[in-house]
Symmetry: C2
């Protein structure tokens, strides 16, 4: 079995187990057997750390149901983080020897010089450490409002959900009653950012700190992945905050009632959460169209590779944006921070964006048609195609933000969303590779011929 197939089937297996567990009566609040579509949707949403919901997690599911959901999130997030971290080594297979060496070199750091077991242990330890910190920061706010036991459970659940960029919440209005709370905003956004930036980046930061503390003399060399992921993340976070602040400033349904400090905090939170976390402190359904488009853009880009987040990834965006800059300057190679990006990687970046965009367009049209043909009166096309597009991007990039239509969609559309969440999580390329199987690279050399573009 190819590696791609193993990963794809692994996710299917966990989703299936989750679905079965969530169907059982002990999972629901009222103790009855659960609707299989609801169980499948919730399990997929949890394992793919998406966070789209068709029922209210906090009131529909029992404590056991909620615990299962939290464990599915943890397994899904850890599984994704581990496989993508390993994948960086495995993608080297089709590269030539020189590229293979470059890949090895980027991993040639003390913490990875052990075997794969060490890496997995290190990832789990990192995860638990961050989640514990999240619980400690949020515990006070939650327990002062909901009592110690309930508060502890809320803190644990939200900490796990945030680190894994899952966006599941137990409160009816997600985090909208904490729009102005410093500690909740701080804990949740930090967990989201670090969970989404990738394990490799965190380890390099940790090594850098160790280095500084021990006052070592040798110069530390950050990997290209570190430089690209951190700089792009920072740029998107600050840019997103500024744009949300501007476009929602005059919206009476979102920002107008807030004071300046809360406006900035809400803009920051929205900027962080759109990049695949999926929590919300403002009502997405009431955002301006400009705000919705900004959110869709940030969602589509998503987080960094090797983390828990989704989307096309910051590195993909940077490769394409640098490719543009290179062409404008008359160069034919892509150079980031003094390192040349191999051409196969540029082609792969194109494939990721093009394949993802096609998936989103196909699903948006399919769901729109299903809804129109099932219920032309309910479905006001003037408004809802945009909402469907938003929903599909949110599902694809495993974000989980919604304008509020998820639960009212037909079962057929919900199943299409399940497929979108799954495909978005394992990745269009990996899924296709799993379906197609191992292909032999083309040996025929075709003559070159050029075309005009643009």
């Amino acid at each position: 079995m190819t590696i791609a197939r193993t990963i794809c089937l692994g996710f299917v297996a966990v989703i299936a187990i989750g679905t079965l567990l969530l169907i059982l009566p002990f999972s629901t609040q009222d103790g009855s057997w659960n609707n299989p579509i609801i169980a499948l949707f919730t399990s997929t949403s949890a394992v793919c750390v998406t966070g789209l919901v068709v029922v209210d997690t906090g009131t529909y599911f029992s404590f056991w149901g909620q615990l299962i959901i939290m464990l599915l999130i943890q397994v899904g997030g850890l599984g994704y983080m581990t496989t993508t971290t390993f994948l960086i080594l495995l993608v080297g297979r089709r590269f030539n020897l020189r590229q293979k060496l470059a890949i090895k070199e980027s991993f040639d750091r003390p913490f990875l010089q052990g075997n794969s077991q060490n890496i997995i242990q290190s990832i789990i330890a990192t995860t638990l450490l961050f989640e514990l910190a999240g619980v400690l920061i949020m515990l006070n706010v939650f327990s002062s409002k909901y009592g110690t036991l309930e508060g502890l459970w809320l803190a644990i659940f939200h900490s796990v959900s945030a680190w894994n960029n899952a966006g599941f919440g137990l409160l009816k209005d997600n985090l909208m009653s904490f729009t102005g709370s410093w500690s909740i905003n701080f804990a949740i956004t930090m967990l989201i950012i670090f969970g989404g930036i990738g394990y490799q980046v965190i380890i390099e930061m940790y090594l850098f700190l160790l280095h500084k503390i021990n006052k070592r003399q040798e110069r530390i060399v950050f990997s290209l992945n570190f430089k690209v992921a951190t700089s792009t993340t920072l740029l998107l976070l600050l840019g997103g905050t500024a744009i949300f602040f501007l476009v929602e400033f005059n919206n009476p349904d979102t920002f107008t009632p807030l004071n300046l400090k809360d406006k900035i905090l809400a803009a920051w939170f929205q900027s962080v959460t759109s990049r695949t976390a999926g929590f919300n402190t403002i009502d997405i359904g009431q955002m301006t169209i400009a705000g919705l488009f900004t959110t869709m853009g940030l969602m589509f880009i998503g987080a960094s590779p090797g983390g828990t987040g989704g989307g096309i990834k910051t590195t993909t965006l940077r490769i394409l944006s640098d490719c543009t800059r290179s062409v404008l300057r008359g160069n034919n190679e892509v150079v980031l921070y003094g390192r040349q990006v191999p051409i196969p990687l540029v082609l792969k970046a194109v494939a990721v964006v093009f394949g993802s965009a096609n998936l989103v367009i196909f699903m948006t049209f399919s769901i729109s048609f299903i809804e129109v043909s099932l219920n032309p009166i309910f479905f006001d096309e003037k408004f809802n195609s945009l909402q469907v597009l938003f929903e599909v991007i949110s599902a694809f990039a495993t974000v989980g933000l919604s304008t509020g239509i998820t639960a009212s969609l037909s079962s057929m559309s919900q199943i299409l969303l399940v497929i979108t969440m799954y495909t978005g999580r394992v990745g269009v390329l990996l899924l296709m590779a799993a379906i197609v199987g191992d292909t032999r690279p083309r040996v025929v050399q075709y003559p070159e011929e050029t075309l005009l573009v643009g």
Copy 2:
């Protein structure tokens, strides 16, 4: 002066002359001096063959004004067709010798073995031939409705406008009163398609026909450009027709009143016109959101290189889509119809799409902000950011379709649209090359390092 600068300044010069002529009193219907912004906007829209208008061409401008507009369209369209046809030879400069030979080979056909004067003469002859045919087909319909002289003028103006993919019309409702007319639909769509498919493709078709008529034995070899342009155009036209038929079928403001034949005809017309012509037989402002998104997609893709149309071009789309297919199959080169596409061209295709998307996003945000800050009450953000996006894509791809907001925008926004039309016409890459000037390609060789994408 670099070639890029010559082309960019050439367009500026023609726009400036057009603006001055359209300011003069003899251009307007009421004989007064024209508003400079209106003159600038109309001249840019005509030279860039966009077709966006801030005043009604047929009633605001005098016959002389209309004649000037028609000549600006003809000069703009011919100029673009000629420069892009030549550019296919000039882009070879930075390629290596092998690629240069491939380019030469694709042009190594009898009709081009003369000097550049022959090519220009041939382009002008082709243009006049097609426009004449258009006039003859449409004359009957127009003159039976508006009288011989007025009918002739309408036929000439619309024929020139259609061949150049300009989308300018003299009738108040564009072509909405001819939704069901076979001859108008046939003439306009044929002119649009052939004007937009590129001179090289037309010549190869002509040679093929000659070949068949003379019953020659040797096999004719079509260029890669021919195969890509024709197949992609056909696919987009038929796909577009099917989607418009489906999404507008139940829209009482567009398709519902039409009978089946007229529905198909209107869907076909909309599919053809979205790909940079910009005429309309249905009211764009009343389309469904799905219809608007489809139109935006087709507009952004646009026509083929070496024609009169705009957009990122069919060839660009095909290169990226084939790149995706190659990556999915585990290959690291882009192959179209048994020909390998050089990597610099793939990078250029990325730059075209990425640069264009950024321009569209930047302009949409800028215009939205200007309109909101100038008039928060008039500008209902819930609806109009989408309209602004539509308008900007239409301007960028020199399409000229509008949901009807062009005239009500502020002068500042209209000037931004002028810049968008101009940049969209000369192309983001060419304009940047003109601004930056000749750059020396990078000589330093950077070490390779890989990243994870997607």
